[in-house]
Amino acid sequence: MKYRIKIGRTVFANPVLAASGTFGFGLKFPGVANRIGGIVTKGITVEPREGSPLPRIYEFPGGILNSVGLENPGVRRFRKEILPELRRLKCRVIVNIAGFSIDEFIELVDGLDYKRVDGFELNLSCPNVKNGGVTFGQSPRMVERITKAVRKSTNKTLIVKLTGNFIDPLKTAKAAEQGGADAVCLINTLFGMALDESGRHFLGGRTGGISGPCLKPFALFCVERVASKMTIPVIGCGGIMSGMDAIDFLSAGATMVQVGTASLVNPKASLAVWQALGDWCRRHEVKDWEDIVGRTKRQD
């Protein structure tokens, strides 16, 4: 069986990506990055960002809350310091970008028009920033406008990362499709918060985003809801910890998957997911991804 998958102009060696924000820039673990489908970088903004006050992470049964607040060096330092390093990687590199206006999104793709950048993931779903992020992703109109504007500026592969927070992702996925996206990624973290014993917000950023195993049933629901109604592929994300989790997302209709929180627990998690997925396919003599992708609906 051929494991390759093409999305936009990019051919991925296999359908497992490291999710944005949970694998840095892939440089710490090139041995992992080079053996999975590719990596999605930490979100990059036009200006450098310090991120949220501490603490930034909270644990609860089944998942975590984070409020990193898009800490990143900004596009210029990313270009100068990180991009050259990324040339060492052999895998596909998708840069996750977060603009606070349409112009910023264009500035970001214009400023990253390098060969080493295989494509962009538009982060229209970060719950940890005041403007932009999830507020864009909650408006189908904005999703379409931003996608369209970016599409005009670049021929590179374009993934739109959507939210399940307070908006039907089918609406925003349709908008991204309309805007010319090559794929949508479902889903980013869900809104959440935690208090300490004195009733104060536990996280420095007050509220955060839910990720980890407990996100899976909801993310799977979103993927199934959206996938069969789209002409562009869906990338599934949310609580994938194992190869079987990945297969569930493919069954629900995802063409590829992203592994997030699992990498915090085990930096090799995305590779482990891919290996387990590959093993499963061999064991079940899967001939073609098409046999698995979307099989839930077909078996209903």
């Binding site: 949970t22 694998f23 975590i64 627990v265």
Partner: protein, 231 residues
Amino acid sequence: MWIEQPILATHVKPGQFLNIKVSSEPDPLLRRPISVADVTGEKVRLVFRVVGRGTELLSRNRAGDIVDVLGPLGKPAMIFRNRDIIVCGGGVGAAPLLYLTRYLDKCSRVEVFLGARNRSQLILVADFRKLGIKPEIATDDGSMGWHGPVTEPVFRAVQKKKRPIVMACGPKPMLVDLVAKVDPVPVWGFVEQRMGCGVGICYCCGLRRKNGGYIRLCQEGPVVLLNEVEL
């Protein structure tokens, strides 16, 4: 607790830590960071206090159990040469200082101060003695050594030295107090911060620098120049 892992034991340097999955279950999900307290042969020693569910589960391990450990992580502490080094530990903070002192003692003049709430909370005193160092003791209740915060004898010791360096580990209030007291003497401290990955890929462990920006504690730390960061 002792972990037997030859490669780990050969490579781990003072100041570094391990990130431990305390349960094979998904809950608790995240690893727990624990500093290396000492290395003997092929064994790495960990000393930790049970404060919550993670450390409780960790403490349930018995000899022979296999633990899922990631490490060595973090930047090794600076090993200064030919300097006067004041080592200051508070409570379980004494742990990583043991291994550090073992290194420092070979190339600098080291004095060790250990503080705790009371006599029974003091740890590793005998182990320091085995290094040939007699730690000065301070307890909050006076049940052993100096009656009061350990930072006071440290302050007095610092004043007697030329260009001393303080290396400390302990609860946040102790570190804050220490930096203020000995100012402008440089204080290198082990900082504890909630961590996500421990390996620099999640940006959850930010520590604010006084002149702006965050550093990732799991990368630039856990031992950092306390004078430069906001605790």
